[in-house]
């Protein structure tokens, strides 16, 4: 299925290719389409006023459709010295190279949901992508989409972003609910996730040259939070985690990877994830994908915590859910964007060998705002203060029983 595509309304300032309305990056070359933010494009409205719901999902009304997050404000102060960055993307004071918009971008669709997608240290470009949605009301509804473009394949960076946005489009409206038995609901949700993965797959293939011997490929991981319910889907080795303030942290998704297969056959997790083929994935999106139906699952949460969708650029340095929880504790009580920045900074400090994406949604009240830190936004040094869980809302999470992830 495909989303309705609008005709190219602008031309990419970098390569001259046509850019669909609403795009912030050129799908040909990855350059930022600068005036897309200055000139918000009115979405095409079908004459029957169905809103911007995907036409291939007519049974789900546009009533609860979430808007795109506000545009990334673009050029930020220098990540190294805080100075102004020049039009040539180098700091006017210390000369540090600022990341391009593709190499480092952030989305903050609501106060309680944010993500950071960063090139990391070693890679030459950012092939990770994310696309987020959130209702204004904390805890209402959030969509976290993370794709990790497979490195060394042509245009993986362009493909992953196109795929993430296409999946987001499918998930703009609420997941099916109130459809009789839990089984029928689960089946309907699985169908929506399969549609989202298919949309991402179609978008990736659309930007792939038919003659390309190394067609772009990507992982796919999605977490949707609706009230207390987390629904998730996965292809490849990006991950979703549930990291509650109290109680046991969980990895929700199961990797489609050689490492995971080894773990299933009894190899220790630490050994498998650091082995030679640890990062070889067994399922992916792209033209040469054999199977792009995601594994899906869900979880009812009962207490406050963080829902995290991330790429392996982050979990390579903190695979165990408790290790991620420790990093969240180290970051202190901060808002989702600062927490995502802190996780990215942690991975970069640990080596940053891969692209890093961390997308977060908060369940329960936000932690108390931190004292005014006059630190650089791009490199927030994780201050090792224990998280003061001052307001424990609701009963402690009972994760031992029903909270188990249900990966299918």
């Amino acid at each position: 299925m495909t989303e309705p595509t609008s005709p190219p309304e602008t031309l990419c300032p970098s390569c001259g290719a046509g850019v669909p309305s609403g795009s912030r990056f050129c799908e040909s070359c990855g350059a930022q389409v600068s005036d897309a933010t200055a000139d918000p494009v009115v979405p095409l409205t079908p004459p029957d006023d169905l809103g911007d719901a995907p036409t291939s999902a007519p049974t789900r009304g546009p009533a609860g459709a979430l808007p795109d997050p506000p545009p990334d404000p673009g050029r930020r102060p220098c990540g190294s010295c805080g100075g102004e960055v020049g039009p040539d993307l180098y700091c006017l004071s210390c000369g540090t190279k600022a990341p391009s918009e593709r190499d480092h971008f952030r989305e903050t669709p609501a106060t309680w949901v944010a993500g950071v997608c960063d090139k990391g240290v070693s890679k030459s470009r950012n092939e990770d992508a994310m696309a987020l949605l959130a209702g204004e009301q904390p805890g209402s509804r959030a969509v976290l989409v993370v794709l990790d473009g497979v490195s060394n394949l042509t245009d993986s960076d362009v493909a992953s972003l196109a795929g993430a946005r296409a999946a987001r489009e499918v998930l703009r409206t609420p997941l099916p609910a109130g459809m009789g038995t839990p089984q029928s609901r689960d089946a309907a949700v699985a169908k929506v996730f399969a549609d989202a993965a298919a949309a991402a797959n179609t978008a990736i293939i659309a930007i792939t040259d038919p003659d390309e011997p190394n067609p772009a490929s990507a992982t796919f991981t999605v977490a949707v939070l609706e009230g207390n319910r987390i629904s998730h889907a996965n292809i490849g080795d990006s991950r979703c985690y549930w990291l509650p303030d109290e109680g046991e942290a969980l990895q929700l998704t199961v990797d489609d990877s050689v490492a995971q297969a080894q773990i299933a056959s009894g190899v220790a997790k630490e050994v498998a994830e650091t082995g030679e083929f640890a990062h070889a994935i067994t399922k992916w999106l792209g033209r040469d994908s054999q199977d792009f139906v995601p594994s899906v699952g869900s979880l009812e949460v009962t207490g406050p915590g963080w829902l995290l969708a991330c790429s392996d650029g982050l979990w390579n340095y903190a695979s165990a859910p408790e290790a991620l929880k420790a990093q969240i504790a180290a970051a202190g009580p901060v808002d989702p964007e600062r927490l995502a920045l802190s996780l990215v900074a942690f991975a970069n400090a640990a080596g940053g060998h891969d692209n890093i994406t961390a997308a977060l949604a908060r369940v329960g009240p936000l932690p108390a705002p931190p004292p005014p830190p006059v630190q650089n936004a791009a490199t927030p040094a994780p201050t090792p203060t224990p998280t003061p869980t001052a307001t424990p809302p609701g009963p402690p999470t009972d994760v031992a029983g029903e909270g188990a992830p249900t990966d299918g």
């Binding site: 180098y90 000369g95 540090t96």
Partner: protein
Amino acid sequence: MAEFTTAVFQNEFLPDGGTDVNAIVTISCKGAGTAGQSGSGDAGEIIIVDTSGSMGPATMAAAKDAAQAALSEIVDGTWFAVVAGADRAMLAYPPVTAGPALVQMNEQTRAEASAAIERFVGSGGTAISTWLDLAGQIFASVPQVTQRHALLLTDGENRERPGRLDEAINRATGYYQCDCRGAGTDWQVAEIRRIAQALLGTVDIIPRPAEMRAQFQEIMRASMARGVADAKLRVWTPQGAQVLFVRQVAPTLEDLTDRGVPVNPLTRDFPTGAWADESRDYHIGVRVAAKALGQEQLAARVQLALGENVVTQGLIKATWSNNSELTTRIDKQVAHYTGQTELAAAIQEGLAAKAAGDEATATTKLGRAVQLAAQTGNDEATAKLRKVVEVDNEAEGTVRLKRAVDKADEMALDTASTKTTRVRKDPPAGS
């Protein structure tokens, strides 16, 4: 409207802990037009001719002829004057004693100036500081002249108390440009080169009077083709960085390092004078603080500024890498001009040692010069060196000083030492 472009040639990769970045920045100008006609101000020309007693009849006749020929090259409408220089300077044309001391060129003023030159008689000594100062006063008398150029001919050594000439050079520096020529062999190359370098001009020897006319015409034609007045090379370096040197390395070698004027704490302007349709190469060395492997940073923004208007920019970068294949490569352009700079120094130091009677040093330095000239393909330097030394082995730089050397050949080698050759360029590494 003049268009400027920039190309940067460098190896941006530094090893772990590396701090020094070298780059050749080529700036090219197209569509410069004609001096004084680009709308940014009028052009002024002053011809300064040595009329001291040392000028022999043949030299004086040639100088008159050459100055008159230069007048014909000055485009109508250009402001001009003629100065006769001896132990003091005289305004030979226009015949005024107060007010504007430049007139605009037309058929009548050209004929009058030509007649004034015809009346030159050689007498008195040589006090070049007074010539430079008078030229400055003449330019100042017509404020709308913003592009100022002088042509200075001398045939003898300056006879003033030490320091006086340098003071005059300082007063003229940054105010007008001056091309200098020495007639015969009784003048001091180092002295006249000091004037030319400070005043962003050229220096050369005119060994025979017959060559004077062509040289004057060429100088004046080149000056008239400089339609872009007073451009500055603007160099930004990051906080904490140090500019090691800024050198023009083509078409001639000029060290600009100490001539930077601060624009702000991170930016300095270096004078480049007026531009014609031409291309100049600058060798810039910057020392930056080492960063972690994989980090990239800007080592310098190199711009050309006309007034406050930046017309072109090149970026000099630094990227730290542990790949020694990347970090050990030396850019061809940088290597070439490093060799040319050493060549100029070897020639000048070798000739100075020879003049001082230190034959061992002279032989070593000039031998090294022969070697460098061959390595960098500077055929003009090779030809001129071979008139001064016998070459035993060019590749190894073993030479013997010639016993009988024409003084003019030695001076020609000296004045030409700063002329550089270019290498054929590969596509730029970045811009």
